[in-house]
């Protein structure tokens, strides 16, 4: 059944990028305002799902030719490494380090190893959601 979803497709083109940008912002701001790896990851996946709904699997796979299972693996690896990295400095597992720097244009920002851990979470969540959706979508 071929439906005419021109409006959906046109809106999606713009909306998907806005959602992804917003999701990145929410992910990075997670330590100070609502957000973080889980929400960020889910929001990114929802943008991709929107693309999937508007177009079809093959088109999206052409735009984003990635294996989402790799996201899971690399995300897990990143989290584990960040968590165990603290052992190298003689402090307990999962101890994070952070500092504050002042940069031109951006102003007072904090640099935090927790972001790396959260990035792992983000990658896993995107990977898991998209693996599930894509696998189900691909099955006949």
């Amino acid at each position: 059944m071929k439906t005419n979803d021109l409006i959906l497709q046109t809106v999606t083109k713009v909306a998907a990028f806005v959602i992804i940008l917003f999701s990145l912002s929410i992910f990075l701001g997670g330590h100070y305002s609502p957000g973080g790896g889980f929400v960020g990851g889910l929001m990114t996946s929802s943008a991709i799902i929107l693309l999937l709904l508007a177009y079809d699997l093959k088109t999206v796979a052409g735009i984003l030719p990635v294996d989402y299972k790799l996201f899971i693996a690399s995300g897990l690896l990143l989290s584990v490494l960040t968590a165990s990295g603290s052992l190298l400095f003689g402090v307990p597992l999962m101890t994070h380090a952070f500092t504050y720097v002042d940069l031109p244009l951006l102003g007072h920002i904090s640099l935090h190893t927790a972001v790396l851990f959260d990035l792992g979470v983000y990658l896993v969540v995107v990977g898991v959601t998209m693996t599930i959706i894509q696998t189900i979508g691909e099955s006949e």
Partner: protein, 113 residues
């Protein structure tokens, strides 16, 4: 408020249990979904409701709502998504392979008893 929530949670659990005890596999999945909603609200209610501000540190506020249940629920939400997805795929793969969704017929064969 907590009393009202407790009753709402009770209703959620009742419906979830009823659905899970039915024969149709899809109803069971929906039941587990309802059950996790109930459990999330239960954890939140146990800690007391609305006893402070949003748990994001601000200079002037001293009282915040309990952040720990929220952290627990956040992970639980994501996990329950994973579990629901898993169940769903398990259900439809079972249906494809065996051709029934009646739980009474999904009990193994006489052979492997």
């Amino acid at each position: 408020m907590e009393i009202l929530m407790a009753i709402v949670i009770g209703i959620l659990f009742t419906c979830a249990t009823y659905l899970m005890l039915s024969k149709s596999i899809l109803r069971i999945i929906i039941g587990t979904g309802l059950l996790s909603h109930g459990a999330h609200l239960l954890i939140l209610t146990m800690g007391g409701l609305k006893r402070g501000a949003v748990p994001i540190l601000t200079d002037k506020i001293q009282d915040y709502v309990d952040p720990l249940p929220q952290a627990l629920i956040l992970t639980a939400i994501v996990i329950s998504f994973g579990v629901t997805a898993f169940f769903l795929v398990l259900a439809y793969r079972t249906y494809q392979e065996i051709g029934t969704d009646d739980m009474d017929q999904l009990r193994g064969t006489k052979h492997n008893e």
